[in-house]
Amino acid sequence: MELSRKPSKAKLVASGVIPFAFLILMIAYIFGPGSDLLDFGVPLPEITIEKVDFVDSEILATVRNTGPIPVEIVMADVNDRIQPAAIEPDRFLERFESAVVRIPFKWNVAEPYTIGLTIEDGTRFEREIEAAAPALEPSLELAGFFAIIGTYVGIIPVMIGLLWLPFIKKISKNKYHFFLALTAGLLLFLGIDSVEEALNVYEENLSQSFNGVLLVATVIVITFLGLYYTAEKLIKRAASSRITKPVAVALMIAIGIGLHNFGEGLAIGAAVGIGSIAFSTFLIVGFALHNTTEGIAIAAPMAREKTMIGKALIGKLAVLGMIAGAPAIFGAWVGGFVYSPFATVVFLSIGAGAIFQVIITVLRWIREEGDKNLSSAAVASGIAVGMLIMYLTSILV
């Protein structure tokens, strides 16, 4: 038995590897000598200026070769006027390679600038900056500033939202289903919001070659599946462990919202960092109102938590609130100090995937609670009202 199994295993491995071998052979052949046959058409060079930083008497442009062929950066300009510049590490960019162009320039705060780069065939690529603002230098003061913004935008509103818990606890089953559905509606809005934001960041900063829409879709699906699997495990284990099912669901919601708020924090930090928004109190109020609803989303499942009372419950709620809100602070730090458009797209997509997974969790819970019924008036109106509330508060942002 053992003897006869071994060769069959080898056969199995071989049959799995052989197609790969042929694939490698084909690629080697295509790239090998005599490959000119396949060179149809004219490959157009392309570079993308992914980031522009304004530092002391200097403008730094981060450029990436996003085209199909190597390029050489030969000239820089500011507002379409040729400027001498330095390029680090060097001016030759292979595919996907990036470099930093340093342009000595006395720029003025809050004025618009167009940064242009010309490659060896004379093609010029540019990027517009709405308003120049000094690049943020990581400092304790600034980190504190971001922490305060993150607290206002993330933690405090979520905590306030959690205060609805006693109210939700006391209402009838039907009304409770309405609140669960409301949560699903709120989350659905946040999920769509994250996708939109991710696509916006991609459109504004990254080149076509990243296949932005598919990047977002892929990350969402992977996150969704990963969390779906984890959540199932968590809820199954909930029965036998210290955490109850309502807590498990609330935790999943908190994690999903936390990932979303990380993305929101990134966006805020980056916006402050590149000076595209003036951070007004009005804007903070808008975000705060908007995010208060996130607290309700966590409070709703916790309302069915019957084993915990008093300090233990408050402690749990506080932890859940922190999980959901605190990432806004980390997001603001990352976004403000080490902004990367690519990472932002990925994080926002992760947030969206997490939220879509949480929606499924919530809906399944409603279904189990509500006699296998998802089409009740409470559920339908809950989702609709959730979307509406989010839309109306989003206008303030």
Partner: protein, 344 residues
Amino acid sequence: MIISMSVIIAASTLYFVFSEGIDAQLEEKVFVTHTGAIVKTTGEIIDPLYVASTMEFDPMKYLREFNYGRVSQLPDGTTLREFTIIAEDDKVMEISPGVFFNVWTFNGTVPGPTIRVTEGDFVRIKFINNGSREHTMHFHGIHPAEMDGVFEPVGPGGQFTYEWFADPVGVHPYHCHIMPLEEHIARGLYGVYIVDPKEGRPIADEMIMVLNGFDTDFDTENNFYAANTIPFYYQHHPIQINTNELIRVYVVNMLEFDPINNLHLHGNLYYYYPTGTDTVPSTYTDMITLSQTERGIMEFEYKYPGKYLFHAHKVEFSEKGWIGIFIVKDNPDQKSQTEIEYGT
């Protein structure tokens, strides 16, 4: 299999993550750029001053190079000047350090050779088209209709002989006149044609400046501007002249896309002869504005030695390359300015 693959992946990951670290020990070098700004970098400088160039076109040579043709006498004693001009449209020229552009050329350069004759000479230009499309030579000036280079397109491999008596005195452009005209001119098919008066002009240090530009990304806006093709060239390689010596500049504006161009001289004024057709200057100024193919002669002398800029006072153009410097040195021999030089 899996182990070896993971080793390869790990190694390549390390390379990508630390590839920048490999160059980390590079020294910072200090550069003074063409605007005077100082840059410290471990990388490279991209500035016309520092980018190594293999430019085959030499603006300094072009500046004072006049072609008088193969000279002979017709039976009636008239001077015959014969030129051969070859058009090509497949040349890729370095038009600014590091920028390679497909230019269309007369005799291999942009601008084409400066053709210089004397009023009344019989001019014969043998034109050969070695390009891949139709081209002609259209000279400004007085000549028979069939010598106008408009209705007689010369196909690839074709030839045409243009003949006329040189008239009138002045500085004129010549250029290709095939449609689309803007493209045929902007790509580089132009040059300068000077007709000297029979009695000649006062002896002077003479030079040609063709004001031109290139639209390298085809958006009908020029990316580069210059006097004599190469942006910033005379800023890095100043033109040497002497004090108290008459300087005569033949200026021809061949710029496309932009409706005007101009020339401002520092620390001095010039006598301006529009189109060079009159012996009396029309104005004494330091700034004239030129439209397409508008041209003239500027005459001036510097009193004081030193460095003087000349540039487009449409400053956008000067910031994109149309700027230069005269270095004025004390005149070694203060000879009389009254001698008269005739065309050779």
